[in-house]
Structure formats: structure tokens, C-alpha cells
């Protein structure tokens, strides 16, 4: 599974990063040049209408990656608009952000709001 993600990630990231606009208010936006060196452990997989892991703990400045494995589009939207939302992610598309200020950030899929997740950012 890990190998699969790594293989896919490089190809997908390059195409998707061009399409998606990440401009974060409190959080740093991503850069294509550093995308492929993203931390493997900070990948959130979207499968069967669930974010996995549901809670992810990262350090400030870490890159966080969501990848959609479903045949259904999903989004990543911050509760309270604390970071920039993703566009609709189609199958195999990726959304990447860089964690900003320490704190707990709830997010959900605005298409299927039953899907929720949490990012905990530590110093």
C-alpha cells in the first residue's frame, strides 16, 4: 500500500498541483518543488467515504497530503474556514497543504458532510 502511494504520488502531484490553488491564510501554501519530498506519514487517504487516519497529528511546517481513492469526488473543507478549502478532488487527485499555527483543526467533505477529520498541529 505504501509503495503504491509513493509511486502514484509523484505523478499525480505534478498534474494536480497545477490545477489546485492553495493559498492559506494561517497555513503555508505548498510548492511543487518540495511536494515529492512530502512526509509519507502525513498522508490522509480518502476511501469508502472516510478520511483515514481520522485524526492526524503533525508538527508545524509539516506537509499534509490528502489523496482520493474513491470513484466519487470529495473535498477538504476547514470547519470555521481556518485554512483554504480544496477544490473537488476527483479519483486519484491530491490536495496538499503545509501545517501552520499549532492547534486542533476540524475539517469535513462539503459534498458528503458525514465525512469528518481532525488535524492536530504541534509546535
Amino acid at each position: 500500500m505504501i509503495t503504491f502511494i509513493r509511486k502514484n504520488k509523484k505523478a499525480v502531484l505534478l498534474t494536480v498541483l497545477i490545477v489546485l490553488n492553495f493559498c492559506l491564510a494561517a497555513w503555508g501554501d505548498d510548492a511543487a518543488t518540495t511536494a515529492t519530498s512530502g512526509d509519507q506519514k502525513n498522508t490522509i487517504e480518502i476511501k469508502d467515504f472516510m478520511f483515514s487516519p481520522q485524526t492526524l497529528t503533525v508538527k508545524a511546517g509539516d506537509k499534509i497530503i490528502w489523496i482520493n481513492h474513491d470513484d466519487e469526488p470529495h473535498t477538504v473543507v476547514s470547519v470555521g474556514k481556518k485554512f483554504q478549502k480544496s477544490s473537488a478532488l476527483d479519483t486519484d487527485q491530491v490536495f496538499t497543504i503545509t501545517a501552520g499555527a499549532p492547534g486542533t483543526y476540524e475539517y469535513f467533505c462539503s459534498v458528503h458532510p458525514k465525512m469528518t477529520g481532525t488535524i492536530v498541529v504541534e509546535q
Binding site: D71, F108, V111, P113, K114
Partner: protein, 323 residues
């Protein structure tokens, strides 16, 4: 029509007994005709109609078609050519001896709200002989712009308010198109919102209780399966405004399968998709597109015909698949 298809015990005076209701539920998905004749609810499958050589209800005052969940742009295993299956559905409408007065599309026109997907839908729709279409948006139609593009394209012929809700009258029937796919809250279901509910209350206020009502929206206005988000959090408030009416028909999409529920004078009905089926509630890990053998696909796609005859208390709702 055999006797066992007639109402035997109508304890609620709602024209439906438990046995009759269960029979209708069992037929849902294979095509079922509901009609009211002399106050007795009769139902029969389309197959039975075909066998008996009978036709669909004769002259009615109003007939319209519901199509739903076209998902133009979807190209995965479950159905790689959703434009083609939409076209087949439209061909079925074109083949009807009497064209319906209009179509209702209950949302998810597109898969990803892309302009080119809306373009393809509009192009395919040109082949339909029935030209008037009334829309409500699905969540797939409002993905990135809050529904701006959808509203620009599909609300030209109606007097839409707020994020796109409206009502109109046809042949004495009052139609209400509602929007329940916008500004959804984390962890929640579909949502109408205060502004739309206030509008609805005012919209129906002056209408007589004998006015037949048809309410259509994308996500079911009854709680089908909350674990999958198949419901609308504030639909009960909407139904409060409607419960004084003698006949309310609620038409929804979103769940890509036929389900019906009767609650007092309100009949809830969900339509098949023209694109791909979804699993029955709770029968799969997620509500994602259901992959079925190619030869089975069209039997799980379809459209819904609704007929209204003045003086009858209920509308006849008929589902037919594309096989």
C-alpha cells in the same frame, strides 16, 4: 386486475393498507404503477400491464417525467458512457404516445460541475421532444462555485429566490423546487436553511388545502439512511407547512434507486439515476457507485412518470427502467 391487489384494510383512511404498501415496496425498482380508481388504490407492475395489453393511464390532465442523477462526466467502471444512457432515457420519453407536459430533473446533472459537462448535458437534452425542464441542483452541480454556473444556466424560466428555490402552478397542481445541497455543515445531512423555510411557509400560505402539491429536491426530504447522509436535517420543518394539504407528492433523487414511503397524505418517492446505481442502504461499505454486470446495468437505471387527473386525490407515480 386481481382482487388481491385491492386495498383490504384501510385503517388510516389514507387509501393504503399495510399489505398494499408492502406490495408496492416490493415492486419498486422493477417498474410500478400507482393509480387511484374510485378511491381504491391499485398497483400493478409494468410487466403485468404489458402482459394484459393494457396501457398506461388514459387521458390525464397533467403528466410529467422525472429524470435524475445524470452525472455527466462520470466515466468509471460502473458506467463509462453516462451520456449514452441519458440519451436512452430521453429516447424512451420521445417514444411515449403522448409527450409529458414537462420534465423535472432532480439534480446531479454533472459529476464535477464543469462547464463542459453542463455543455454535454445540454447537447444530449436537445434530442428530447419535451422542451420544458425544471431543475433543482445536486451537490455535484455546485461543487466549486456554490451553484453560480448552475443557476445561470438552469433557472432562466422560473422566478427563483435565494440560492435557487422556486414554485409554479400547472393545471391546478402547485410545484415547489427546493435546494438542499448548499452550505452543508460538518457531520450533517442535506439542509434547506431558515431563509428557504421562511419562503416556503409564505409560498403555501394562501393555497387551499385541496391543492395537490408536488415538492422536488435532490437529497431525500425524509431520513432514508443518515449514516450515509441520505436525509435532510430540517425537512420536518418543511413538512409541517405541507401537512394540511390533502395530497403531497415528494420527488427526490440522490440515492440512485427507487424507494417509497407514505406518511399520512405525503408520498415520498426517490427516482433511479440515468448514470449508475447505488447500493441499498447499509448493504455496502459506502454509498459509492455500484458496479454491476454490463447486461444488468440498464435494469437499474431509469426514469419516473407522474400523472395527475383532476378530482383524484393522489398522483400516479410510475417508475420504469432502461432495460
Amino acid at each position: 386486475m386481481k382482487d388481491h391487489n385491492h386495498i383490504l384494510h384501510n385503517v388510516d383512511s389514507d387509501g393504503i393498507d399495510r399489505r398494499g404498501f408492502l406490495k408496492c415496496m416490493a415492486w419498486a425498482g422493477t417498474g410500478v404503477l400507482w393509480t387511484v380508481s374510485g378511491g381504491v388504490l391499485i398497483s400493478k407492475t409494468l410487466a403485468e400491464i404489458a402482459k394484459a395489453g393494457a396501457s398506461l393511464p388514459a387521458a390525464s390532465d397533467l403528466s410529467f417525467l422525472q429524470i435524475s442523477d445524470s452525472h455527466i462526466g462520470f466515466n468509471k467502471e460502473a458506467n463509462k458512457d453516462v451520456a449514452e444512457t441519458l440519451k436512452i432515457a430521453l429516447d424512451r420519453i420521445n417514444a411515449m404516445p403522448v409527450q409529458p407536459s414537462f420534465l423535472i430533473h432532480t439534480g446531479d446533472i454533472t459529476q464535477l460541475s464543469k462547464p463542459e459537462e453542463f455543455d454535454t448535458f445540454d447537447e444530449v437534452l436537445k434530442s428530447c421532444r419535451t422542451k420544458d425542464v425544471f431543475y433543482v441542483p445536486g451537490e455535484h452541480d455546485v461543487l466549486n462555485d456554490g451553484g453560480k454556473l448552475y443557476r445561470e444556466r438552469y433557472l432562466k424560466s422560473v422566478n427563483a429566490k435565494g440560492s435557487g428555490w422556486y414554485s409554479f402552478n400547472k393545471n391546478g397542481v402547485h410545484f415547489i423546487g427546493l435546494v438542499n445541497v448548499l452550505e452543508l455543515q460538518a457531520g450533517g445531512l442535506g439542509q434547506l436553511g431558515d431563509e428557504q423555510l421562511e419562503w416556503l411557509e409564505a409560498d403555501v400560505k394562501g393555497l387551499g388545502a385541496d391543492t395537490p402539491m408536488v415538492v422536488f429536491a435532490h437529497i431525500p426530504l425524509w431520513t432514508v439512511y443518515p449514516q450515509w447522509g441520505w436525509g435532510t436535517s430540517d425537512s420536518e420543518r418543511a413538512l409541517q407547512f405541507l401537512k394540511r394539504f390533502g395530497s403531497v407528492t415528494v420527488l427526490n433523487g440522490h440515492i440512485h434507486q427507487v424507494l417509497q414511503k407514505v406518511d399520512g397524505n405525503v408520498t415520498f418517492h426517490t427516482a433511479m439515476s440515468t448514470a449508475f446505481p447505488q447500493p441499498a442502504p447499509g448493504t455496502a461499505p459506502s454509498p459509492g457507485p455500484m458496479k454491476v454486470p454490463a447486461e444488468k446495468l440498464r435494469s437499474m437505471l431509469g426514469l419516473t412518470s407522474v400523472q395527475y387527473k383532476q378530482g383524484n386525490s393522489a398522483l400516479a407515480v410510475v417508475d420504469s427502467n432502461l432495460s
